[in-house]
């Protein structure tokens, strides 16, 4: 590796919370598929890397009709895809997971890591926003729960404080069995960062959109119904996005493709 750092792999929450509150320059390692690249490129300069994978309970997925779904901080994208409960009750989440990077990366990358990094092009965020998921955040000081709609504060920025850990994601039971789909525009057929991504959610007459790569943060568009014509839904999407022009495409093209994918998904998600 291009930098020198210490490494710890705590097995208990207490040990983890002590490490993050007692040391400066700690970076948490879940899957490592973003962090280790950032360290290699010098974008991250941690003094200590703390591996979350061995903390008791962080490798758990649970589902119940009363409490909904809980996804621990060490759960990988491929574990989401292999979870019968997620495929059955939250197919939109599986659709987002399927489009994330390559098979090898999905074996390591985690759902929690994908949202904590707060990239505008997060693939899991559009689905989690539509499903009204919440982040369970803990530290030595206690625990708090934050809806993902309030979680992202800017490009690569979240509400997480220096000593806090996103321990698990909970998805409420009332969004289970929603119909949904995710479309991600990429430059190539293989794995790539999204140019834009759109998730559509439909349940009990309610329509929601989750949009990635079209604003500083992943976006949720609410207040729509299945009776709204596509033009109204697209207008709501256009009212929410703030796309930029960059190396991958122009702002106009992003806006155009949000329009196109929203219309296609509204038809596909019957």
């Amino acid at each position: 590796m291009t930098q020198i750092f210490k490494y710890r792999a705590p097995v208990s929450r207490a040990e983890l919370f002590d490490l993050v509150s007692d040391h400066d320059g700690v970076r948490l390692l879940a899957g490592g598929t973003d962090l280790l690249v950032d360290i290699r490129n010098g974008f991250a300069r941690p003094e200590m890397v703390v591996n979350l994978k061995h903390v008791a309970g962080y490798g758990d997925i649970s589902w119940s009709p009363a409490d909904g779904l809980a996804i621990g901080a060490a759960i990988t994208i491929n574990e989401v895809l292999r979870s019968a409960a997620i495929r059955e009750h939250y197919p939109l989440l599986a659709a987002c997971a399927h489009d994330l990077a390559s098979y090898q990366i999905r074996n390591r990358a985690t759902v929690v890591g994908n949202v904590v990094n707060a990239s505008p092009c997060s693939d899991m965020a559009p689905g989690l926003l539509c499903l009204q998921a919440r982040a369970v955040i803990a530290s030595k000081r206690g625990e708090r729960v934050v809806a993902f709609n309030d979680f992202f504060t800017g490009v690569k920025k979240t509400v997480l404080q220096r000593d806090e850990v996103l321990e698990r994601i909970i998805v409420p039971p009332d969004t289970a069995a929603a119909r949904g789909g995710y479309r991600k525009l990429k430059r190539i057929k293989g794995h790539d960062l999204g140019i834009i991504g759109v998730a559509v959610f439909k349940k009990d007459g309610v329509v929601r959109l989750g949009i990635s790569s079209a604003a500083p943060t992943p976006l949720l568009v609410e207040g729509l119904t299945e009776d709204d014509p596509a033009d109204i839904v697209v207008a709501a999407a256009h009212g929410a996005i703030h796309p930029i022009s960059d190396v991958r495409c122009s702002a106009d093209y992003r806006a155009h493709m949000v329009d196109t994918y929203t219309r296609r998904l509204l038809e596909e998600v019957a």
């Binding site: 020198i4 280790l36 390559s102």
Partner: protein, 163 residues
């Protein structure tokens, strides 16, 4: 830190810096240079190995994370001097030109065939989406996978121009 891991069935014990990657451990400490570094950022798949029976990009795994683990690399693919069925199919179809991507490519294909013994052409393309080839051409690689999975018949061979 002192760590131990099994690579291709052989136990190794080493003292390694905590900031070592698994790829660096394999190549620089153990001398297993069949696993290559391409991009160092999880794009190209040249560094693909099995870690506890799952394919990973070894440039994006710390060696420390493999303490106590079982790792398999391209060096373990042939046994007793005999090519594996995937390697033999690569040779028959000239699916190797420079060979740089081949080690990682064969690891990804072994994982694909373990999960899906008769993949369609579309499923093969999905299975190797994390592995870049910049010279051989994917055509020959896809043919080799169809052959290794027993799907290359005189009838299907004619269609391969279109894969």
């Amino acid at each position: 830190m002192r760590m131990s891991l099994t690579v291709n069935g052989r136990l190794y014990e080493r003292a390694v810096p905590e900031y070592r990657t698994l790829l660096e451990l394999l190549r620089d400490d153990l001398g297993l240079t069949g696993t290559k570094e391409g991009c160092g950022a999880g794009e190209c798949g040249a560094c693909t190995v099995f870690l506890n029976d799952q394919t990973v990009n070894s440039c994006m795994v710390l060696a420390a994370e493999a303490d106590g683990a079982s790792v398999e690399t391209i060096e373990g693919e042939a046994s007793a001097g005999e090519l594996s069925s995937i390697q033999a199919a690569f040779a028959r179809h000239q699916a190797v030109q420079c060979g740089y991507c081949t080690g990682g490519m064969i690891m990804a294909i072994r994982e694909l065939l373990a999960n899906n013994p008769k993949p369609s052409v579309a499923e093969i393309k999905d299975g190797i989406e994390g592995n870049f080839c910049r010279c051989t051409g994917y055509q020959q690689i896809i043919e080799a996978v169809l052959d290794a999975s027993g799907q290359l018949t005189p009838a299907t061979k004619g269609e391969l121009k279109h894969v």
